[in-house]
Every structure is written in C-alpha cells, then in structure tokens.
C-alpha cells in the first residue's frame, strides 16, 4: 500500500535551553495527557467507556505548547481528537473522564461523550465530531472578542484533513478580512483515518504556505518539540493580542495508535511499522525529558515525581467517573431548547 513514507519526519534534536519552569510545565502537561490517555487505552476494553474515543498519544507536544501560551480566559476549540487540547487548556479532568463514561457528572452530563468536550470556565468552548466544523465557530468567537473589545485570543485546533474542507478557506478568509484575534493550529499527522496525504493533497503542497496565501502570517514547526511549539505559539499570541490579526501555525506530528480506539494498527497495511518506530523515537515527552536531564535542569527524581503526581490525579478522575451516577433516562428528553 505504501510506496514511500508519506510522513515527513523532522531531523535534528529538539530546541533546548528553555527556562526550566516553562520546560517543566510543558513536560508535566504532556505527561499528564499521556497518563490520561494510556489509562483510557488500558481500560477501554472494560466496555464502560461506550463511545468512539480518539487518542492523541504521540501528539501531546502541540497541545502542551499551545495550551501554555494561552491565558485561562482565552478561548479554545477543538475536534474529535480533543482530550489533549481540553486538558492543556485547563479543562476539568474528572468531568472529562465522567463524560466518556456517560455519567451525569460529565462535562456534558453524558450527552456528548469523548468527541464533545466543553469547559467554559477554562475557556474550552467546545469540541465537535465533524471535520472542520469548529473552525468557523472559533472565528465567530474571534469576532465577538473584537466586538466586545476584550483582548482575548480565540484558538482553534484542526488536522490536515480539515484543510481540505471548504469551510476552512471560508473561515480563514473571513478572519483575515476582519483581522480577528484567531490562532489557527493545524496538527498535521499525515493521515485522515487511513488515508495518507498523498491520496488527498497534491504532491509538494505545504499546508502553511497554502494558508499563508489566504492573507495571514503562517509558519511551520516540529510538533514533537514542545518547547518550539510553545515559543512559536507565544509569539503568535503576542502578535494577535497586539491587534495584528490572525495567525496560522502548522505542526507536524504523528498519531501512534489507531484513528479511533485504544489499539495499534500498523499491521493492517495503511502505514508501516518502520514509520511508526521512527516517530516513536521522537516521542515529545522523551525528547524533552532527555533535554532537561542532559543539562541538569531536572533530576530523574523530579521526573518520576511528575509521573506519580499525574497518575494519582488520573486514578482519582477514573474513580470519580466510576462512582458517579448515570443520568436519569428522562434526561434524554430534556434540554433541546434553553
């Protein structure tokens, strides 16, 4: 099936040298996301999480970097693969796990599931299950910020597939036209479900260049280098907050597991084990850990402590979800209108 590796693996070492507080915050954010999703993966077969679940294991660097660059009252929107974004923005973890369990304590009271997350208190305004579908909504939030003059930023995540949707062009174009405070983040993981970029986009296309032609600054970076993501996102956010209009950032990365579900699927033939292993060597968590250990900005004990803290929080969230009640069946027939 694969004539050549469709993914482009960045060369070189990650950017080091970030102040240790920021680097450690990024590392903890990634470790926490990884712990959440590994726990989901390991418990998925219990059949208690009864909804389609899209894991972003391997892609955490982008969520962590962008999340750290935003303020709590900035807005964020996302896609079907939203756990990392929600968590990096400060979304409530127990409410997310309870939502995946279909419990009344979930962030949508069990009506949304993994693909519909929301925590407005953390500025996470929603994720939805239709490719490209939240891009204009985030632009609308940008319009509202401009109308209300509140100096916030509206950030939206989407994948490479979304840049094939008409609504992507419509939305970016309007944001550029009105100079809206919107940060577009394209996570390019090279696949839309099982379809590689080469069957979807012409050879040689650079998504960020295409976006740039729509009338806004656009650049590209290694999404597995969380420090680099953070630096680029922070600079973009600063510019947007100064009123310079929207910006577009494309980050390359790689989804380790299957499109939807907890398993690995390199054996089914749409991509190769070699490709996966090459990306796994560039694990965003391991790369940043090694950088921190290498120049003495962190000790092994500190890192172990982070992992233990994250796992304890995750275990608590799963216990909360497990113990929470289901919504009453009558709730299915409420809430269509406000």
């Amino acid at each position: 099936m694969n004539q050549r590796n469709p993914s482009v693996i960045p060369a070189g070492l990650p950017s080091g040298g970030a102040p240790s507080s920021q680097a450690k915050a990024l590392l903890f954010s990634m470790k926490r996301i990884r712990a959440v999703e590994e726990t989901i993966a390991s418990r998925y077969n219990e059949q208690k999480m009864r909804c389609p679940t899209h894991l972003s294991i391997g892609q955490e660097g982008i969520a962590a970097g962008v999340g750290l660059a935003l303020n709590r009252d900035d807005f964020m929107m996302s896609t079907h693969r939203a756990h990392a974004h929600y968590l990096a923005k400060g979304g409530n973890l127990p409410a997310m796990i309870a939502e995946i369990y279909g419990k009344v304590t979930g962030c949508c009271r069990g009506k949304g599931g993994s693909m519909h997350l929301v925590d407005e208190e953390a500025g996470f305004m929603g994720s939805t299950a239709i490719v490209g579908n939240t891009i204009p909504v985030a632009v609308g939030l940008g319009l509202s910020i401009k109308l209300r003059n509140t100096n916030q930023v509206s950030c939206v995540f989407f994948g490479d597939g979304a840049t094939e949707e008409g609504v992507f062009y419509e939305s970016v174009s309007f944001a550029a036209l009105k100079k809206l405070p919107v940060l577009f983040i394209c996570e390019n993981n090279f696949y839309s479900v099982y379809s590689p970029l080469r069957v979807r986009q012409p050879e040689g296309r650079k998504i960020h260049q295409l976006a740039g032609s729509l009338g806004l600054p656009a650049s590209h970076g290694d999404g597995n280098d969380a420090v680099r993501v953070y630096d680029m996102a922070r600079r973009a956010v600063d510019g947007i907050r100064r009123g310079a209009g929207p910006q577009f950032l494309e980050f390359t990365t790689y989804r380790w597991r299957e499109h939807c579900g907890p398993n690995f699927d390199n054996d089914i033939g749409y991509r190769t084990e070699d490709e996966y292993l090459a990306w796994k060597k560039r694990d965003p968590i391991v790369m940043l850990q090694e950088s921190l250990l290498g120049d003495g900005r962190a000790t092994r004990e500190e890192l172990d402590g982070m992992a233990a803290t994250a796992q304890a929080e995750v275990d608590g969230a799963f216990a909360f979800a497990g113990q929470s009640p289901f919504p009453d069946p009558s709730e299915a027939y409420t809430g269509v209108f406000k």
Partner: protein
C-alpha cells in the same frame, strides 16, 4: 393604526432590536447594498455602524459558524440570505452545531442566532431559487422555524426570534414582502409557537402557513359567497407547532384541509394530517386532505408554471369537493388581474 409593508415591518424589527440591545448584529450578502435585501435592511448600517451591520464573504457555511461562535460569547447575530437555496451550503453548521449545541453540551450554552431566509416562487425563480424547505428545518430537533404571513406577525415574530435563546430559522416568502398591514410601532412581540385563528368558521378547518394563507383567504372569500364557512388557522410557527390550536379547530369543524408552500412528500401539511388523523380520528367527519406543491422541482418557464402552484381556485375546489358542493371555482382565476407567476402587478422581477 398606520399601515406598512411586510418588508418595512422586518426593517423595523431589526432596527428596534439593534436599538434596544447593542449585542444584536446583522450581516449577510447585500445587507448594506443599495437594494438592502428587498428593502428589509435599508438604513441599518447608517444607524448602527459597519461593525454591527455588514456585508459578508460568499461563504454561507463559515458565516453560519461565525454566528454560532459569536453567540457563544453573548452576541445575538441575525444573518440574512436572499434565497433559502443559498443557505443549503450551511447545513453542517445549522444541523450539526446550532441545533445540537444546547443539548449535546449538557445544556450549558445555547445558540441565540436568527437566520432569515427568503423563499421564492414564480417569475422564473426555477429549481434552485424557489425551494420551500420548512419541513427539513422542522425535522431537526433544536431549531425553531418561524413562517409569518402578515406584516404585523413579521415584526412581532422577528423580534421574538432575535431575543429567543435558541436558533431560529425565520422564513420570509418573497411574495409577502409587499403585503401591507397594520403594525404597532416600537417593541412588540408575537410569541413563537402560537398559531393564529385568522377567520372563525364552521364547515372546514384550513391549516396554512406563509403565502398559502393569502391564497386561502381568497378562496374563503369566494366560498363564503357560496355559503361555505371555513376556519383558517395560520400556523406562524411550524416548529414547535401549536397543536392545541389546530386540534381545537378540527374538533369544532370535523374536517381538515392542510396547505403547504413546499412539496407534498414529507411536508408540514403531511405531519398535520398524520397527527390529526391519529389524535382526532373519532372527531373527523371525513378523511383529511392536503394541498401542497407537486413532488417536482419548480420549473422556470411561465408556460411550465401555469397551474403548477396551489392557488385559491384549487383550495376552493378541494373544500367544495369535501362538502359535496358544486361551485364554479374557475371564477377565481378568471377574476385575477395579473399574470399567474407574480403576486400582483407590483412585482416585475427579476428576483
């Protein structure tokens, strides 16, 4: 009371809403152009500024999402499309987002947007400028679907729509824009979800919406001269539908004729026939009937639209048949002083 047109009533409602609440914004292709969407948006940009009233890119889907996003942060957008057909590009945002948001996010946030869609008919509007898809919208849980007939209802319902906490699809029939009527000044509201008994009568209940109500009134005037008394229920809102008013009327008359501006299969009129049949079977003196558009796209040539639409004469014929009366319904068409494909001599096209 002063009399103004349906289009002026829409303009007044927009102006009143924007005057009252600075969170109301209004955009759509052509809202600030010299024609002002058949006059409905004229003067608004001068009054309220180009940050609140603006033209937009030809991007119906994204701009619907923009309205949704803005509404999540307290803005109340009113979006306008010169034809419903153009808005079909925006079904993802309408159906997957606007209609679902409040429900799927556990009731945490609603989407208070109003989408004005203008429906066409006749004068060569043809297959893609004339679709009356109210039944589509009514089929989606989470949308309110409003379809006023009179100038008064247009103003009162548009104000209610703009200040409703939920997404409202507001359908304006192009053939009604020039209809004159008494309209209160200032802020006044007609509640969403309440039908209006336009005329009381004894023999047959006619349930109708939007422009079909005008045809029904012509038919009833003729029928009355022939000794037939109809009760006319103008739905005003097709979702949520005012079943109480419909049922009470049919209980009284025992007969139902449901009219629809859209094609018959899967129509709102079909839903009315179904629910009345299920709920009022024993009150019915005979099988309910329905008059709607044929299940064909609307053709363009005036030769092909001759007899294509439901007109007053068809309504009169149907009612007479129901009552077993012989009346010369052909007189209605014979007395019409304008061509069949325009609402009146005021309409010279092109749009």
């Amino acid at each position: 009371m002063r009399s103004i047109s349906f289009a002026q009533a829409i303009n007044e409602a927009l102006s009143e809403a924007m005057r009252q609440d600075e969170r109301v914004i209004c955009y759509g292709l052509g809202v600030d152009d010299p024609k002002g969407v058949f006059g409905t948006t004229l003067g608004l940009q001068e009054k309220f500024g180009d940050h609140r009233v603006f033209d937009m890119p030809t991007a119906e889907n994204a701009m619907t999402g923009v309205a949704i996003g803005a509404s999540l942060n307290g803005i109340r957008p009113v979006m306008t499309h010169q034809r419903l057909d153009f808005f079909l590009l925006a079904m993802d945002q309408l159906v997957n987002n606007a209609a679902k948001w409040h429900y799927m996010f556990g009731g945490r946030r609603s989407v208070p947007i109003t989408i004005r869609l203008i429906l066409g008919r006749g004068w060569g509007q043809g297959p893609t400028h004339s679709q009356n898809l109210q039944a589509w919208f009514a089929h989606i849980p989470g949308l309110k679907v409003v379809m006023p007939t009179t100038a008064e209802d247009a103003k009162g319902l548009l104000l209610s729509s703009i200040f409703d906490e939920n997404p409202v699809v507001f359908l304006e029939h192009r053939w009604l824009h020039n209809v004159q009527g008494h309209v209160p000044e200032g802020d006044f509201r007609i509640p969403i979800g309440k039908a209006h008994v336009v005329r009381e009568g004894a023999d047959v209940t006619i349930v109708s919406m939007s422009y079909m109500t005008i045809e029904a009134l012509h038919a009833m005037e003729f029928l009355e001269k022939n000794g037939v008394s109809c009760e006319l229920v103008d739905l005003r809102t097709v979702s949520p539908l005012d079943w109480d008013t419909v049922f009470n009327s049919v209980k009284k008359t025992g007969r139902l004729l449901a009219l629809d501006t859209g094609s018959a299969t899967g129509s709102v009129a079909g839903e009315i026939v179904a629910r009345v049949s299920m709920g009022l079977w024993s009150s019915l003196k005979q099988a309910p009937r329905r008059l709607a558009m044929p299940d064909f796209p609307e053709p363009t040539s005036p030769a092909l639209t001759q007899g294509f639409h439901v007109r007053a004469e068809h309504i009169a014929r149907e009612v007479a048949e129901m009552l077993g009366k012989a009346i010369d319904h052909g007189q209605i068409a014979a007395q019409r002083k304008h061509p069949h494909d325009v609402p009146g001599n005021w309409f010279n096209g092109p749009f």
